[in-house]
Amino acid sequence: MSDISRRKVLAGLAVAPLAPLVGGVITRAGGQIDKFPKAMSPREKLQARYFPNFELTTHEGKKVRFYDDLIKNKIVVINFFYAQCEGICVPITQNLKRVQNLLGKRVGREIFMYSISLKPEQDNPQALKHYVQMHKIKPGWTFLTGKPEEIAILRRRLGFFDSKAGLDKDLTNHIGMIRYGNEPHQWWAMCPGQANPPWIVESILWMEPKHDVHT
């Protein structure tokens, strides 16, 4: 067995022992049903809680479903921005361009980058397309807009809100973190969008089970 495939197997084993505890109905010796009914799997729970399957539109005008088309079975990097933002969006976009360059051909094949508009009323697909062209952003990084009320829900679900309501309403104070994750492995975390790009890349590459940066 090659080193890489052995690691894949080990990564699979690491999550397997949880499955019997959470998947189905646990019956006792006498056939008595345990207190809790059949529950969702941990992966289904994450989907239900954090990844609503809203319809979004890409900067190329394509309709996509958030979970089915953008998240499911993927390694992803997500941030929120808006095209007219004069605060931290520009440095974060520039930072993520360096991240995209460092990740190279992986972006769009193994790793998918998404920037979701905080001002979907203004940021129609044409505005997003203009932003992509203006910043010379390469394929594999998709800019997204959608129904304002659904974007608002998505933003909260993904943890891009300030718990202090006054600050949350102030778009100039919007959250500069980026969320990264591996959906099938149920690994989700965040790092600052203005962090040093090689460090962001290292964090994202941890999401590849075969990747071995920390040995």
Binding site: H174, I175, M190, Q194
Partner: protein, 363 residues
């Protein structure tokens, strides 16, 4: 060093992993703190009368009873269930004698102020003997509760000999906290707080060879200070939801400053801005010299490795770095803040540098 603990420290994932249970105690004994009440400092014998207690507050999924971690929370997670050594609000039978309890706040985010509440809602006093695993100079009696931030360890002596068999005493957290940012600093009325643990006094005959803290035994004198070579300052803040220390974000590969081994240093930590942070420094312990321009309490004057920064607090710490070179972090031990990059890296070597030593403090 006596009451230590260990836990997973995976960068960006610490809170999730520790929330699911990857934490434990690591207890050390020596010729003074022997674990045998007939020898050394005569502290209550391990394990019958020397009991580690790890506190967590967690949330559970009502559909399946499994622990539920909120990935979208970046402020700090408060649980509605209080756990002691993994059990929700358990009871513990005690005999009519002295016990040593090793209290650890294992997070993820809550600050506790613990009282021992009797059934008539008066407080039972107890003695603090050790902070962050280091015995104090002398026991310190408290009747006004004991603060414990995440990752702090407080060893206490509780004397149950005055209670009749059948008495009930609650370990009660009376510090009000409504969100992950920090406690409100309101102290709730006796009986209105969270009853974390119930002590039930039993009538079994028992001997007690442990030292009476009221006799003021001397345990440990902190070492004399040597002249500090440098003062460094650290301001903990937040920009666009991103934690910064001296306005910089975390990068594991960036050495923010270098400490010269065998030198003494002063670190001033300025925190808050409406957030509370338990700041933890790896490798070397410190003496707290100052808290908000006041001498710290006797309880905070032992050797420590966590500095509690309440809203708008500042503290001055004295370090003497010894023994090893290497790479170490300083981070907030509200593990939700920690996982959102409230951290920096410093290295200890034989050269050192003066980075982070221009102290432009706002207060």
């Amino acid at each position: 060093m006596s009451t230590l603990w260990y836990h997973d420290h995976r960068v960006d994932f610490t809170s999730q992993n520790v929330y699911k249970g990857l934490a434990g105690f690591y207890l050390l004994f020596n010729q003074f703190d022997t674990g045998d009440e007939t020898t050394g400092f005569h502290l209550p014998s391990f394990p019958n009368f020397d009991i580690p207690m790890m506190f967590n507050d967690k949330n559970f999924d009502p559909n399946d009873g499994l622990v539920a971690f909120d990935l979208a929370n970046r402020d700090g997670i408060l649980g509605d269930k209080f756990l002691v050594n993994g059990k929700i609000q358990p009871f513990f039978e005690v005999k009519r004698r002295r016990y040593r309890f090793r209290w650890l706040n294992a997070g993820p985010s809550r600050f506790y102020r613990f009282y021992l509440t009797k059934s008539d809602l008066t407080n039972h006093p107890f003695w603090v003997i050790s902070n962050d695993g280091n015995l104090l100079k002398n026991p310190v009696q408290t009747t006004s509760g004991l603060m414990i931030a995440v990752a702090e360890r407080m060893d206490v002596i509780v004397d149950f000999s005055s209670f009749a068999a059948g008495s009930i005493i609650h370990l009660e957290n009376r510090l009000e906290q409504c969100d992950g940012a920090g406690p409100t600093n309101n102290i709730l009325a006796a009986g209105q707080g969270a009853k974390v643990l119930q002590f039930r006094v039993v009538s079994d005959p028992v001997t007690d060879n442990s030292v009476n803290p009221a006799t003021n035994p001397t345990f440990y004198q902190v070492p004399t200070r040597v002249t500090e070579q440098i003062t460094r300052c650290f301001k903990f803040d937040r920009n666009n939801g991103q934690w910064v220390i001296n306005d910089k974000l975390f990068d594991c590969n960036e050495v923010r400053f270098r400490v010269k081994r065998n030198n003494a240093e002063i670190w001033k930590l300025e925190g808050g801005f409406n957030w509370s942070h338990p700041i933890h420094v790896h490798f070397e312990e410190f003496q707290m010299l100052d808290r908000n321009r006041n001498t710290p309490t006797l309880i905070e004057r032992g050797r420590k490795d966590v500095a509690r920064l309440g809203e708008n607090d500042d503290v001055t710490l004295y370090f003497r770095f010894r023994d090893f070179v290497g790479r170490y972090p300083m981070h907030c031990h509200n593990v939700i803040h920690e996982d959102h990059a409230m951290m920096l890296r410093f290295d200890i070597d034989d050269v050192g540098n003066t980075n982070e030593s221009s102290c432009g403090f706002s207060r």
